[in-house]
Structures are given as C-alpha cells and as structure tokens.
Point group: C2
Chain length 213, copies 2
DNA sequence: TAATGTGAAAGGCTTCACAGCC
DNA sequence: GGCTGTGAAGCCTTTCACATTA
C-alpha cells in the first residue's frame, strides 16, 4: 500500500499495541508471526491486523507470515520511534509527579524535557531527573527543546489556560489528564485520559442492580 | 426512548463527559441547558448530544432546552452514581500508590475497598486510607465487599495472572493500567489505559519529520 | 421563534470470504 | 496446505435536515 495514503486514526491507535506484542515476540526469539497469532495476542481480528499492517507499508509472505523485525521496523517508523521525542509535563501534583517518575517513558522513546507548575513553592524542586520550573518559562523551554508533545496534569480549573499556554508555546499534541473537556484548535491533537471517566464507564456495566434499599 | 433498549457503548463512554459538564453548569447555578451548549462544552455535535440523552431516557422542552437537574439525575442513574461503588486496586508500585491516593475517586462515587500486592514487604503498609494486603486475600475481600470493579496497576509480566485472580474472585470489570493486552472472558468488561500508548499515538502526529540525519 | 426528537443519508470501521501466492 | 492481501458486504456511528412542539 502506498506511503501516500492517510492512515485512519483507528489504525494509528492500534499500532502501539502491535508494537508491544512485537517487542515481546522479539524478546522471545520469535522471528515469524502470523496475523492470526498477532490477533490472538492483541485481542483483535486477523483481517484487521492484516489491514493495519498494510497501512504502515509492511508486507508478509503468503503461506508463512510476517517477519517480526520487519514489522517492528515499519510500526516503529510510523510511530516516530527512532527519534527521541521530548515531552513537557505541566502540573506537579500527585499525578504529575507520578508521571514524571514513570520509567516506562524513557524505554519507549520519550524524554521528559521539563516539568512546570504555577506554584512558586514547587518551582526548583527536583522530581525524578528534572527540576520544576515556573509556567512562565514554558514558551522558552518548548522552543529550545523543540517539544511537540505536552502532558497536562493540572487541576480541572487550571487545565484550559495551561492548554492555551502549551499551544501558544508551539506544542502540537496534548495528553490531558485533567478531568475536564478542553477546547483546542483543530491543528492540535488532543487525547484525554481520566480515571474517573473510565471507572464510571465500567460502573455502568454492573450487573442488574439489586433494588436500592 | 424505552428503558429496554440497549445503550451503545459509544454513548455510555460519553455519559461521564456530559456528567462533568452538567456538574459544572449546576455549580454555576445554570438550570437550563441546550444540546447546542452541551455540545460546545464537550466538543461534540448537538445532534449527537440529543441522541445520547434520549438513550438515557432524558427529555427536554422544545424551544427551551433540558433541565440540568433532570439530566444529572438521568445520566447519574445510568452510571450507577447513587450507589457507592467499591473498587480494589492490585499492584502497589508508583502508579498504584498514586491511584490509591487520588482523591477524585471518592467524589465520583467510588470507594477504594482494598489494596493488594504480592510483595510481602509491601503488605501491611498504609497507603492513603487503606492497608496493603497480600493478593492471596483477594477472593475473600472481593466477596465481603461485593466489589465488581478491579484496577490493575502491576508490571506487565504480572498483569495476566492478576487479572485471572480478579475474575476468579468475582470481579466483572477491570481497568488495566499495565502495559500489556489482557485476555479475559467476554463476560468481563475491560478498559485499558496506557500512558506510553497514548504518547505514541500523539507522536505519530508530529509534523512531517525532518530527514533523519 | 427556538430548540427538541428523529428518520434518512453519509461516512467509516470491521468482518467475511476468497483469489493469489509461497 | 497455509497465510497474505483485499474487494465486498454488513454493521455501527455520526451528521444532516426537518417535522414537531412549547
């Protein structure tokens, strides 16, 4: 399939999941994998796997399967995995600190370039490998480090203005952990992660409720 | 719309988002809201909002809008908000501790019923308002507290067996923070949250990459 | 007049099914 | 025989557009 065609967002969202499984296969010395097996590992349908892999330009061998290293190369390339991606985190509450200290990011090709908060009491503190700076320094840092991704971990009330600051500074993608819906321009990619929202969705699926009292 | 009809999963996933906006409107003393305004607050289309609200049995007044308190009642009911939902967390690493200490859950109708880990060194530690117990006690606790939701915050390698333990104990819904794809029966609801996955998705959207080297 | 409620159209995603190839 | 690659069918979701009603 041509490199020129646009990859659907649904496919993009599954690529990191394939990548995870592929890394495990590679770690287990498995060199060949079928769409069937990859489907089983990821909980998807095998036809879906084949279509997704075609989108990233990967090709397999009929009757055999796909080369694991080749798939790692193609999916990793699509996810810009070869270049280290600098990330800034805004909001140094409990969640922000946990994210700043999360070791998983480094191994996945991300680097925490800087941490920010508006609370002067927190500015200067060391969290993980970085020092907390004041939000006023955001624009300068984003420019210097060429950050395109910002993580929002502020309280809900501060999230929109922090998002605006990130966008004004040049960030083009925001991962929002604040429990609020953000308004951003359509040229900014936004993804939301909210633990309460996830739990509420699951709570809806509780078995038919016993009568309340 | 009849109570009997099944609400699509996509609609269920948006209900918590409406709920958030409705709580803010109510806090601001706004008693009436149009689908247009709710759409603006949530970043959705107004027709979508009206269809979703119809699914939960809410009704508005033509020419006027919806009653905020009524919407809060209907969406909250659908999300089982009136009953406190006990939740257990498995895995007391950095993320598990952050989740255990996250105050937002209590205000949303959830209660952390118990914390678990397999590491004997962590068992007995106090984290937030709860004491860490050994995973062996999971089944007994889930039964006693009638927990239907489990949160997984273990390392990837331990996640599947922990998930199996949760399901065996009677948990019917799992929120998985471990960076791995879990296999669970189709009678168990599963949602995944992975920071690395989210960042990788955003990384894909970086502007056309400058040539590498 | 202003906004709901909802069929119908449009668009997108998933699954099927099978030709093609190793 | 087995697995990829992909058109076609089916399903689901979103959006449009407008009749309807306070």
């Amino acid at each position: 399939m041509s490199d020129r065609c646009r990859i659907p967002e649904t496919t993009v969202a599954r690529l990191p999941v394939y990548l995870r499984s592929l890394l495990r296969l590679a770690a287990g010395q498995e060199r060949i994998v079928s769409s069937q097996r990859l489907a089983q590992l990821t909980g998807l349908h095998s036809a879906r796997v084949r279509k997704d892999l075609a989108y990233v330009g990967a090709s397999g061998t009929r009757g055999v399967g796909y080369d694991v290293a080749h798939l790692l190369d193609m999916t990793g390339r699509e996810l810009r995995r070869s270049q280290e991606t600098p990330v800034v985190i805004v909001g140094m509450g409990q969640l922000g600190r946990a994210l700043a200290g999360y070791g998983g990011l480094g191994s996945e090709g991300f680097r925490i370039a800087a941490l920010f908060d508006v609370d002067r009491a927190k500015v200067g503190q060391q969290v993980g490998a970085a020092t907390v700076r004041h939000l006023d320094e955001l624009a300068a840092t984003v420019a210097t480090e060429d950050c395109v991704i910002g993580v929002l971990a502020t309280p809900a009330a501060a999230a929109q203005s922090a998002a605006d600051a990130l966008v004004a500074a040049g960030v083009r993608a925001i991962l929002n952990f604040a429990p609020t819906s953000l308004a951003v321009g359509c040229d900014v990619w936004l993804r939301d992660v909210d633990v309460s929202v996830e739990l509420q969705i699951l709570a809806h699926h509780r078995l038919p409720t016993r009568p309340t009292r």
